[in-house]
Amino acid sequence: MKKIKIIEVNGLTKIFDNEVRAVDGISFTVEEGEILGFLGPNGAGKTTTLNMLSTLLKPTSGTAIVNGYDILKDPDAVRRSIGFVFQDPTLDTELTGRENLDFHGRVYGLKQDVIKERIKEMLEVVQLTDRADALVKTYSGGMKRRLEIARGLLHHPKVLFLDEPTLGLDPQTRRAIWEHIERLNQEKNITIILTTHYTEEADYLCHRIQIIDFGKIVALDTAENLKARLQGDIVGLTFKEPAEVLKIRPLLEKIEWIRRIDAVAGENNHAAMGRMMQMMSGMPEGLGGMVSGPPSSSNDFGSARIPRQVKENMALGMTGVRDQQNLHEATRLHLLVDNGGHRIPEIVNLASSSGVVLESVDLHKPTLDDVFLTFTGRSIRDERGSFAETMRQRRIIREARG
């Protein structure tokens, strides 16, 4: 069967406030029936790209063809061709599941009998038939996500955009959502573009992965090929104190058989929680402002809605792409070497002879996490300035969107 190009992106660029290049001249194509994942840290430009492809945001320059229609010249036709499941929940929780779907169908101009039929079909696909007439506020997180996916598919789009489809969901629910997405793709041949910062999600679901960082595509390939690019083993070194890392790193950099060194923030949960609390307390506009906002005359802020930034930080702390911003706090180093098993004794010797206390040493084959680190890691970040600078940029982007 001939592969059809369903999306062609050409030099797509978005600059916010004349200074922040959220998306920087990206070009790629997507074939019909493909699941393409955008993998990248927060603020890398994933969501901005989706917003442009779905005609929500006008590109600063460049364009894209979706299902044969130009996003600039024929936005309505593009909108009819796509479904979108947003990162922030966009269900009306005061309505029932069925009403949410019904309203969606009506706005897309479907006839009542068609809507009824499709609602029935979609509820079965996402297994929500028995809860269809309950108010959405009584749904669990996973059920809400499934309902949103059903809604995004109600008008039979050719392409479905999923922005962080499993953000904040527990591992079991996440897996269930993955299976739904996979089935939709296989049974209905729907092209799916999703963004994620969970490497395991990209690994499991996506036919091809596009790593985005600072608005640019830094890699686009299958997970296997990406991993194969990092030949060798990863030797992980864990230290008690960040100071030890600073001490040993220059020594390691002199060794020629170490092909690459990446600093990784500590993996233990205490550190992650500490970081998270720090971020929460440091962002009054995010948490405080939103929760104590205006009286919720039309929205349910109260009901356990956590601001996006906090959710992302939580997710970052627990799993997924490691936090590379706090380099000076890193207590772990990843070394890319050949024959890792044989190199460990030498590394341990070096550490003890230079008086550095190693807490543990481990060895693994390169994972997508390591690939990610390689493409977006230290070498790129170090040039771009501090953690505070990154946060500031993100805030600008967020506000510019508002």
């Binding site: 779905s54 796509i82 966009t90 706005v107 506009e285 906002g293 205006p294 005359s297 039309s298 969107r401």
Partner: protein, 262 residues
């Protein structure tokens, strides 16, 4: 590019607002109760002290103003909520649908106006039960006409809310909105005292308050007379100003909403 209006989309969003409103009974009760406290405290309490009031009771004089207050607060917040709805809510999903933003926002304005007006009607009934109005044929006709006035007032202020909401980027600004727009608009609308007794400076400020004309119109409808300052055809002037305000606000709100990006 001009996209056509979609009656279907307007209807869907209006329907959604009504459904939500109907289900949030606790909120309706709280809102009506708040206005009821104003009526009881000032109308009966202060009214008892003042006694007769220009051929009517103070409660009667006060009622249209308190209805106006309820309309104001209900509609501005409904308008401002559009921003949140668009960023974190249901409306965001609507924005990727193949319908124009103008249709979406007109539906939202209609919905906000309808729900705020329903609260106004409930308050009208409450005030009636408290004895604020004399149930004559003229009153019944006036009360029906007041429904149109309520829709006009609320559509204007939902439009204002949408315009403000679409231009705000900072959540803290909502405190300012309440202090510097909502309260002055309410206090200067001639709710508590007839403006002809006020000093001239204050009169000028009151004349610049769009809600003043709304409250004036409600008084004409419900009590059969307005302030002598605007003359015997004061209702016509009030209708003109209010109509102009509403048209302008719906226009500006629609424009600013359509222009803003995600």
């Amino acid at each position: 590019m001009v996209q056509p209006l979609s009656g279907q989309a307007i209807y869907v969003i209006l329907l959604r607002e009504l459904k939500r409103f109907w289900r949030a009974k606790a909120r309706i009760i709280a809102s009506v109760a708040q206005s009821f406290f104003f009526l009881a405290l000032f109308g009966l309490g202060l009214g008892g002290f003042i006694g007769g009031f220009r051929g009517t009771t103070y409660l009667s004089y006060l009622s249209p103003g308190i209805i106006g207050m309820s309309l104001l607060f209900g509609s501005v917040f409904s308008g401002v909520s559009v921003v949140f709805d668009r960023q974190f809510g249901f409306l965001k999903e609507m924005l990727v649908a193949p319908v124009s933003r103008t249709s979406i926002i007109l539906g939202k304005i209609l919905g906000g106006a309808a729900t705020a007006s329903i609260q106004g009607i409930l308050l009208l009934v409450v005030a009636g039960l408290m004895g604020a109005f004399t149930p004559t044929i003229t009153f019944v006709i006036g009360a029906i006409a007041s429904l149109g006035v309520m829709l006009l007032i609320t559509a204007g202020f939902v439009g204002l809310g949408v315009a403000i909401g679409s231009s705000l980027t900072d959540f803290h600004a909502f405190q300012l909105l309440s202090t510097f727009i909502m309260w002055p608009t309410f206090m200067l609308s001639g709710v508590f005292f007839p403006i002809d007794v006020a000093p001239q400076m204050l009169q000028v400020a009151i004349m610049m308050d769009p809600l003043f004309y709304g409250v004036e119109l409600l008084r004409w409808c419900l009590l059969g007379a307005g302030t002598p300052l605007l003359g015997p055809f004061g209702w016509l002037i009030a209708l003109g100003v209010l109509g102009g305000f509403t048209a302008a606000m719906v226009g500006i709100g629609t424009f600013l909403f359509s222009r803003a990006q995600v």
